[in-house]
Symmetry: D2
Subunit: 285 residues, 4 copies
């Protein structure tokens, strides 16, 4: 599972048709690439093909040549592909409000190298979590949210994302609804953690909803955001057993661990290029 | 956890007030009862007290005297109680349609003594599962369901339940909606297994709903039935991890195991007198 | 995950070297095979390559030509391969003693088609489980085990296996130690379920061992048998949470579910050709 | 599960005999205490009784009178008891080496109040984790370990524990074997996290051992330390699924989450007075 330091990742997807696997593997072979892991899946319901390959090129990869060559082959299949370099570390912006359990977890995993990413900014509608960002020497932007002028705050947020060159935005318990416009801009590049097993308990106060229903399991869902709030494609879900003795505040406490773990898992999959969009579902290879 | 063969169970509940625990434990002590497990819970949100005690009475319990004596004490607390004898085996009616995984599991657990119950009848709207019941030498009643006259089939079902003296009805993937009238009659004495993590995916074809939402976990919910379909108090829930490669039929197959295990767990709790109704929630001690 | 009815499986493994993936996928393409799932793994510690491909051949596969053609390509890689036909159902012999939970579970899964196999015989050193086999119309062989002459019983067992043409032997809680000679004959084609998380609690009475150690989790391990008792390559493991209130008999009861599920999972992987031996470890694709 | 701010905890244990439950509950009633949760367990194999009660005393508890009164009643039962005040926060010393995942997790839980404890010192045989302690404003003691003179380092460690008045010592991946003498001093008041499912993979490099055995599950064990290394009474265990693609370094990474969660769970149980020693096993109420 752990990649050797010189491992590239190739991911691609296209409509289902004969020859997709061969097109990719033959090209890799011709380029002298050594495949260490290969996983492909052809979805017979959506009629779409997905592939993820890890490979090494001991002699050094001619990246430009590789891209051009593969692009030519890919054309016939209407195939999108992405080539990810060995030491890839995406720039990431994390958005938070007041709860810090997910932020603490993400920054810890960055620090020890478990999540290979560079958090270039933490953005919040509250000042509370500045000390945590400071200790990790990460710029913290507090943009006050005026309920009568949400757009101006979102413009500030977007400016940070754009200027930092962030490839991924993580909503680590950011408790504000994003505007459709910002959702559109972040389509496929922002991961949110919702504190319930979606589609159950959408919307506000899911743990209170769960308490009222008397469920015996609570969970969390990490998903890409899209226009439809709490309805974006699910990447990962986690769950824990609870019982009658858990009051709402206990469910919230229990949920913290699940939220942190589930979000970190989803971010890891994203960075390792394991996640593909397949309509409103995801394929995770 | 396993009870010695001479162990009684006392369960009770009443409004929260000072002295509830003492009222029960003092009475048990005065009667010379030896307590082996005691669990009580006072719900500060609903203001209700729940208690379950396992005990032995080596000299033999004067059951009638015990009941009368406790009834007197209980009056002041508006306390309901139930005394369950050492070798208690409730009579059970199981209702099925065509899927047999839950029935097979329940009958197996009865056979080896893991569920101490006497299945006195299997009732179905289809003839398919008769051989399985036959092999276990359990009467099988096939009552054809005429869509234009559901009440007459339900009358037949009810007659079996009543005449058999069943204390518990298990809906082991019975795929018909019960009438409000029958639900009322079965209130608190019928357990259903729903093939989703309620309240998510209520209604028909939950695994297809789950597939469409692209969830990464599927589950099952065992609950008491009440008037509101798929909304009765939850007793137990189970869950399994799935991924993109599970088509709806795979989710259904995966679900079989969870449904069987979750239903058996709920039935076990019920028979061991662990489940208390607390509004629309349950307390499981 | 569920295969379409016309899906073939190709599995292969060989020493790690450049071109292994391409050799397989190019051949499949040249034969006009449509790949639906492809998973390969190159183990950098053992230096061995493993591949499993599911594919369809709409025009009908020339099986003999396919095998010959691939054999030629495979030679250069010292690659072993196996081609499995769409409706493959291996003949299976199940060995049991007195406990029937795994047998009941396996026969149920065969009956409903969840495990595509033909159980051709049940073999036991006790007569107890004959009725269960009878009901499934499967021959039951009771071979009494004389402690002073174990070899003669093993000869009878082996005769059944051989004459039935069984490709797989399942030790479904068979409580006798097999001789090294029989182990050798069954190498790689017999799956055992051990009622602990191996390598913890090897040998007899693992649940009693677990009780004495006060563990908070119990589990089961399905593994191929080999010469070294309870040490064969692990295919699957399952686990459940327990607590102080579980006496040894409760651990045994809890264990039944895990044993059944874990064994069925391992058998399923084996039949679907997902399991590869990699020294004393397995690769499960 | 969450205690109201004015809740006391009473725990006790003694040999099994008639009247133990009544002795405790009657006393509580006579003192006007309101019981919110009561759990008792009588172990029929060890012949020992364990009880844990949460209660409120709205008029204020006469703590000294309570202790004296209960001590008198307890004498006849040879009962040990412990009374824990509402806002109890034990002083804790954490011992670490170089790995910081458990320390980071524990300090985070302290910071947000999920673990009600006061970490009064972090002690290490390495200087690496000082910045983390500094940020939480907790004194960090680096005591270099001279392999030729371990006793002198242990004396320094013990001095910190003693002078700080710590009631609990947490070995959060402290990678040195403690001397029998220090173990004896810490008996019942020090919790260690071992990175395997004990008793499997005792000793050094458990994840490498696990890799070599090809297990499909890895786990962690939190236990009290005693004389016998890696053999103290188990408080909690956690587990995660792994597969063939996990190299030893991946098992180590996967293990971090389990270790943190399992250790935090055990520490929480200890602080909430849920854990009782029962020979070499624990009872967790």
């Amino acid at each position: 599972m752990s990649r050797a330091p010189d491992t590239w990742i190739l991911t691609a997807d296209c409509p289902s048709v004969l020859g997709t696997v061969d097109a990719v593997t033959r090209f890799l072979f011709e380029q002298g690439c050594y495949v260490t892991e290969h996983h492909s899946f052809d979805d017979r319901l959506s009629g779409r093909f997905f592939i993820r390959v890890e490979f090494r090129q001991p002699d050094g990869l001619d990246e430009q040549g590789f891209r051009q060559g593969l692009a030519e082959r890919a054309k016939a299949f209407a195939m999108n592909f992405e080539l990810t370099a060995p030491h890839y570390r995406p720039k990431v912006v994390i958005m938070v409000s007041k709860a810090d359990h997910c932020l603490n977890d993400l920054l810890y995993r960055q620090r020890i190298g478990q999540l290979p990413m560079d958090v270039v900014a933490v953005v919040s509608n509250h000042p509370d979590l500045k000390p945590l960002a400071d200790w990790h020497q990460i710029p913290y932007h507090h943009f006050h949210l005026d309920p009568n002028d949400k757009p101006s705050q979102e413009r500030q947020v977007w400016q940070v994302i754009e200027e930092s060159g962030a490839e991924l935005v993580i909503l680590a318990r950011y408790m504000q609804v994003l505007s459709p416009e910002l959702c559109r801009k972040l389509d496929g590049k922002a991961i949110n953690i919702h504190h319930s097993l979606l589609p159950g308990f959408k919307g506000a106060k899911p743990y209170h909803q769960a308490y009222n229903k008397g469920v015996k399991l609570v969970g969390a869902t990490a998903h890409y955001i899209n226009n439809d709030l709490d309805e974006g494609p699910i990447i990962a879900q986690g769950v824990e057993v609870v019982d009658h003795s858990y009051y709402p505040e206990d469910l919230i406490a229990k949920g913290r661990d699940i939220e942190g773990l589930t979000l970190a898992r989803a971010v890891g999959y994203h960075i390792e290029r394991r996640v593909f969009l397949n309509g409103n579902r995801t394929v995770v290879l």
